[in-house]
Amino acid sequence: MQLHTVDYLILVLYFAFVIGIGWLLKRRVATSSDFLTSSRSVPLWITSLAFLAANLGAQEMVGMCASGAKYGIMTSHFYWVGAIPAMIFVGIFMMPFYYGSRARSVPEYLKLRFDEKTRAFNAITFATMTVFSSGISMYALGLLFQLMLGWSFTASVLLSALIVLVYTLLGGLTSAIYNEVLQFFLIVLGFAPLAILSVLKAGGWEGMAGRIPAVMTHSWSYMKAPADNPMGVEVFGLVAGLGFVLSFGYWCTDFLVVQRAMAADSMAAARLTPVIATFPKMLLPFIVIVPGIAALALHDMNIGYALPAKNGGLDYDQALTTLMAQFYPTGMLGVGLTALMASFMSGMAGNVTAFNTVWTYDIYQSYFHPQANDRHYLLVARLTTVFGIALSIGTAYLARLYNNIMDLLQLVFGFVNAPLFATFLLGMFWRRATGHGAFSGLLAGTGAAALTHGLTTAEGKGGWLISVHTFTSTMAQNFWIAIFAWSTCFLLTILVSLATKRKADSDLRNLVFGLTDLPPEEHGGIRLRPATVAIAAGAVCLALNFLFW
């Protein structure tokens, strides 16, 4: 793939604008709260799009297109079964407690609701995970640009990290959020033409459906048994594992996304943020998954497009970039690559800003230097931006050198995340849940996840204790690990809570359902009612599931 002057010009224009936005927002940062939480002042439409974009990293773009080519439209389950119900739930049912508690972060909510040790567990694991995941995506970007354009790994990693560092350092969370909106527009406008062009070339949806196996164009029809579909999953594992445990665990408890809603300028806006974000989210499969399906159809048409081969099969990971090479001339190629860079940056800035807040407030202020003045914390927050990005760069190189260690770490992070939603669900809706219950539930849930992995195998993975069951795919294994982890955490939290002393109702005000004054639906000048918007979103999502049944 060869870039020309105009492609570089587009990339430079994009860099200039993201830094410019950071520069314009510089004046708004006077306190640590401005830098780390945007002082709860960001308008609704901006928080909604940022809520989406922070999750829309380059790995998601490349990975979802690859999954489209590998699994077909079933990949949309990650959106229409996974993300949408969870986003509606966090907005309608959980945001009143996150926002109403005045907590500055998700770990801080755990401190207020439960106790110090539960916060510490969540803060430390979350901070470690964000640094690693930002480093891993940086590694993926460096590798991608090296493969596609022959750019040096170091140059790609350092350049992209430097741009994110500059605009985040200038305007803090607000700058990251504002830029995420620009990046979201660019991702959509940069990749939508690719989806349209590739599908048209493949003969439209009907033309594609006629060329590839029927299982690739139906999302539910082949779900009766794991062997019937390329994902190797069945309905219960999918709905309970992905649709409930994993998706709710991510969208409802991960501070990276929840932070965007917590920056909104009113309670109503905070609740509406994830709910409004569901509309663009449910349309994203048409931009990120459908081109992958088109790639597979084009591959079978023998018209000059072929997915590269890998290990005797096809290299699905290259679906997106090979399509760009075939459908984008110089000019649009620059836009496509800039969109890829933008998706990477939005994901990375999301990680960096969430890490900043958790490190500064939940770790540094809580355990190292509790009584300092605000100027001190602002300085620490700024230094943390530099420190966090430097750590991410280090992690990117670590991933390059020791790929197996990274796989292992991601597996362990998965174990830690799996039970989280049970803790939050009980914490927010059962006032009897205690700190000891939550902490022991989290530890036991993490242990149950590891144990399930040790006792089962899938595609040669897991079974390091003894294999008592074999799954059709690692995806099915992951869903079931999540189900066992969640159930263990849920049950143990209840048992231990019943045996330990609960907090007084007065200490749980605005933290638990039944002890929180829910705000009136119309608030902050917004006429939209969160519940009405949620019902509309649910109906559209249901219709999409039926449309591709």
């Binding site: 090479a325 459908f327 001339p329 000019g331 649009m332």
Partner: protein, 61 residues
């Protein structure tokens, strides 16, 4: 507080302009699997999108 639609609108209007100019100056530049000038169409769409954002921000102010 300034409106984010202003810089975003300027960015997409400029990007659209660059693409349209590229399409006009290099009318024969084609991607391997395409037989039409995608830069002009995509550029025009981006220019329009940028224009809409600028119009919305101007209307607000």
């Amino acid at each position: 507080m300034w409106d984010l639609r202003t810089p975003s609108g300027m960015f997409f209007a400029l990007l659209g302009l660059i693409l349209v100019m590229t399409g006009l100056l290099h009318p024969t530049a084609r991607a391997p699997l395409l037989d039409f000038n995608v830069n002009i169409y995509a550029g025009a769409a981006m220019f329009l999108f940028g224009g809409c954002l600028l119009w919305l921000s101007k209307r607000r102010s």
